[in-house]
């Protein structure tokens, strides 16, 4: 598949990991690097959702320490644990390293993973674990998925990488017809639960048609698969470790614009975050915003703009709406999605805005809004609103700012739904 070399070149130039593997940067606020050319969103570096202190990182909601004795009482011990500042690709790399350290059968493979990967997610793993466990494959997505299925069917932990989610389609047959159905069709005799397919997803500012896609919706009907999308470094590490160890084949989609722009203190120990559980990031009572991946930060900005709109937008935000309490939910797992948390929220707020980068028609928002209207029919005060990418064939390069659901479109969706 075509990979613009500029991704790799930029990645190398902007690498912040010195040879000793620790991060030299002290603070994102005073970083010396220029922002990426496409411009990462102004909200990410200042997001209140990112955990920038050790204390807050260790108190991450739902964190399950994997090194604790399962038979013991559930505890949440913070003392004695350490965190390290990581961006998302470093957190992914950290998760892979832990998974491989604790499981001798685990192997990592894909296109260009041996030198560290075009997004640096596998940096140093080949040196640490050897080329037998971290290796390049020929350039064949259907082959990568099929090879991983074979490994996993033998009980080995297979962590495959598809270089961009845009290129997962050649593997669609292997993933939907084979991986998803492996356990069911064999009467439970065989399974490929130890397969995890990692792939970078969503827009990046200049990715055009084939470096920007959000294909999660295409897999939503593939019963037997799990689809997971994290929003931050802590989430990436915890959800990736959970995906690798989940007894089902998982597709783990990493929002590529967050690889560098989202930075958190991440616990260095082994921990997991449960799959199939959404997380309420901001509590509210007047409207629910449901999203995942990169748009989490656009939604945060939009909610902030609702309560204190900049002067230029103020005429579009009626004063009566500015005190509205908006609930923000990160879905995290797309399949199977957490219907309980979402419907519980909508029952309280009576209003729902769903935000995703994928196109609207038959996107994940269609599935979710249908189920919500079925379950919350009598509680809904407004139609379910979907703020999504337009139904164009892809993210047209020069038009991206008008295609993605950015903060102002989300703000407009919230205002419209509140005023209904």
């Amino acid at each position: 598949m075509f990979t613009p070399c500029k991704f790799a070149v930029r990645a190398a130039r902007r690498s912040t990991i010195p040879k000793n593997g620790t991060c030299r940067r002290q603070s994102t606020a005073t970083q010396i690097e220029p922002p990426p050319p496409g411009g990462h969103l102004p909200s990410i570096s200042s997001s209140q959702l990112l955990r920038t202190t050790r204390e807050s990182a260790l108190r991450t909601s739902g964190i399950l320490w994997a090194d604790e004795d399962d038979s013991g009482p559930t505890r949440n011990i913070v003392g004695g644990r350490e965190t390290r500042k990581m961006n998302t690709y470093q957190a992914v790399r950290d998760a892979l390293s832990i998974a491989m350290m604790k499981d001798d059968s685990a192997v990592v493979f894909g296109e260009d993973v041996a030198f560290g990967g075009v997004f640096r997610c596998t940096m140093g793993l080949a040196e640490e674990f050897g080329r037998e466990r971290v290796f390049n494959t020929p350039l064949t997505e259907q082959g990568i998925a099929g090879f991983g299925i074979g490994l996993a069917s033998m009980g080995h932990t297979a962590i495959a990488e598809i270089q961009f989610a845009d290129y997962i389609f050649p593997a669609f047959d292997q993933l939907v017809n084979e991986a998803a159905k492996f356990r069911y069709r064999s009467g439970g005799q065989f399974n490929v639960g130890k397969l995890t397919v990692r792939t970078p997803t969503m827009s990046v500012g200049h990715g055009g048609l084939y470096h920007s896609q959000s294909p999660e919706g295409y897999f939503m009907g593939a019963a037997g698969l799990k689809i997971v999308i994290p929003r931050s470094p802590i989430q990436a590490k915890g959800l990736l470790l959970a995906s690798i160890r989940d007894p089902n084949p998982c597709i783990f989609m990493e929002p590529k614009i967050l690889y560098r722009s989202a930075v958190e203190q991440v616990p260095i120990d082994d921990f997991e975050l449960s799959l199939g559980r959404a997380e309420i990031l901001v509590s509210g009572s007047d409207l629910t915003v449901l999203t995942w991946g990169t748009p989490v930060y656009h939604c945060e900005t939009a909610i902030h703009m609702l309560s204190s709109p900049p002067p230029s937008l103020a005429p579009h935000v009626p004063a009566s709406l500015r005190s509205a309490k908006i609930e923000l939910i990160d879905l995290r797992t797309i399949l199977p999605w957490d219907v309980e948390t979402v419907t519980e929220s909508v029952r309280r707020t009576g209003r729902l805005v769903i935000v995703h980068e994928a196109g609207m028609t038959a996107g994940p928002g269609a599935e979710i809004s249908a189920e919500v209207q079925k379950r919350c029919f009598l509680k809904l005060d407004a139609p379910v609103k979907r703020v999504t990418g337009w139904d164009t064939p892809g993210a047209a390069l020069q038009y991206e700012k008008f295609n993605i659901p950015d903060a102002v479109r989300i703000l407009d969706g919230i205002v419209e739904t509140l005023m209904y």
Binding site: E178, R185, N248, V339
Partner: protein
């Protein structure tokens, strides 16, 4: 395509009359082993005859015979260790004969019948898959699926897993069997490439029987068959007479040895002819002459060729032939009657084995969903409620329910 039109030669041991060709080296086999091979070769068409006929009577929904390729299948099975991993590429190109591998490994006629009927004893897939989609971890036989060629790159992954396992490295290989039509799929290309490049000890056995349903191999490729592609991938390759069980046995033994030595893939192309129809949904006389098929059956029959060899060794005679045929027919008939009388699995199995671990909410069990009242009516309960309402009054459902072990009761409870 070479300038002089030369083709990769076909390796043979026995000639048409069952005698060794000049200079041929017989593989190391004793009388008991040879007889076992023959018995298995004869079991395949006997089983095929019955299952083909009962499909015609509507007792099972679908079948694919293995006529004409008994030597390829049984010869390959006999050459491999019982714990080499076999991945079968589904209903490959034209027929479907890998059942013989399972039978060689001790899969019983009862288990074959259970799968084809999809009854409560079906361990292959609890009645979820079409007939002839067998599978058994105990026999190191990965469950068959319909999409063509998907198991070819999977086999490379299986081979790599074997190489990484200290207990099985240097001992076991992965083998995948597929038809020449499946070799046109992208997954064939991917699998060959991965096994040679990564590399993985994987044996690719292509059954080239001349047809993929109606498409003759002349419309499948222009080059010298499948074998000619092997060297392009850097893979050791051999073409063998697929109607000569000793040649297949010998070549597969050597191929496995090379797989283990090199740690890479090896390609074996077995040339034969699809004597039967593609499947019970196909009438092959629409696209080929009946006389041609009859000729092939008579002139180059893998079973009779091997029988002549056995007789020349004094290992087989007419009396034993008749006794074996009678015994096989009896065993198969008994298994058939037993399988036909059995019920299907519990209807609730429709919803199990989709996920491992916690069941997702949309199919969750009644007990789980009861805890949260607004989740009560999930898909399993929804079907149960519909059965309660219409199970007696809607005839298509009433008739079907009677075929299940529990008549659907475990859903209704």
């Amino acid at each position: 395509v070479t300038a002089d039109g030369a083709q990769i030669p076909t390796y043979r041991i026995l000639d048409g009359s069952g005698g060794p060709i000049d200079g041929a080296v017989l593989p190391d086999i004793d009388e008991a082993f040879a007889r076992r091979i023959y018995e298995n070769m004869l079991l395949c068409p006997t089983l095929d005859n019955l299952l083909y006929n009962i499909q015609r009577q509507g007792k099972i929904s679908f079948y694919m015979t293995a006529y004409g390729e008994e030597a390829t299948i049984v010869g390959s099975a006999a050459a491999l260790a019982l714990d080499d991993e076999i991945c079968i590429d589904n209903m490959a190109t034209g027929q479907y004969r890998e059942m013989g591998v399972l039978l060689w490994r001790g899969f019983t006629i009862d288990q074959v019948m259970a799968q084809c009927f999809g009854n409560e004893d079906d361990t292959s897939g609890k009645g979820r898959q079409m007939p002839v989609h067998f599978g058994s971890p105990a026999h190191h036989f990965h469950t068959i699926s319909s999409p063509l060629a998907t198991q070819i790159p999977q086999a490379a992954g299986v081979g790599y897993a074997l190489k990484r396992d200290p207990a099985r490295r240097d001992k076991n290989i992965a083998a995948v069997i597929f038809g020449e039509g499946a070799a046109s799929e992208g997954d064939f290309h991917a699998g060959m490439l991965l096994a040679s490049t990564v590399p993985s000890p994987t044996l690719f056995i292509a059954r080239n029987n001349g047809f993929a349903i109606s498409t003759p191999s002349t419309e499948q490729y222009y080059g010298d068959g499948i074998a000619a592609r092997g060297p392009g991938y850097g893979i050791d390759t051999v073409r063998v007479d697929g109607n000569d069980v000793l040649a297949v046995l010998s070549a597969v033994r050597e191929a496995k040895k090379r797989c283990l030595e090199s740690g890479r893939g090896v390609l074996l192309e077995a040339m034969s002819y699809r004597v039967g129809h593609h499947s019970t949904s196909d009438d092959s006389y629409v696209y080929r002459a009946r006389a041609e098929v009859e000729d092939r059956k008579r002139i180059d029959n893998p079973i009779s060729r091997f029988r002549l060899f056995l007789e020349s060794q004094g290992w087989w005679n007419e009396e034993q032939e008749e006794a074996l045929k009678a015994k096989l027919r009896k065993d198969i008939m008994e298994a058939f009657k037993k399988a036909e009388a059995k019920k299907r699995n519990n209807l609730g199995e429709l919803f199990t084995d989709i996920y491992g671990g916690e069941e997702p909410w949309n199919i969750a069990s009644f007990f789980l969903s009861f805890i949260i009242w607004w989740l009560r009516k999930q898909q399993r309960e929804e079907l149960a409620a519909l059965l309660k309402k219409y199970g007696d009054s809607w005839e298509p459902w009433r008739n079907e329910l009677a075929k299940f072990k529990d008549q659907g009761r475990n859903l209704l409870k």
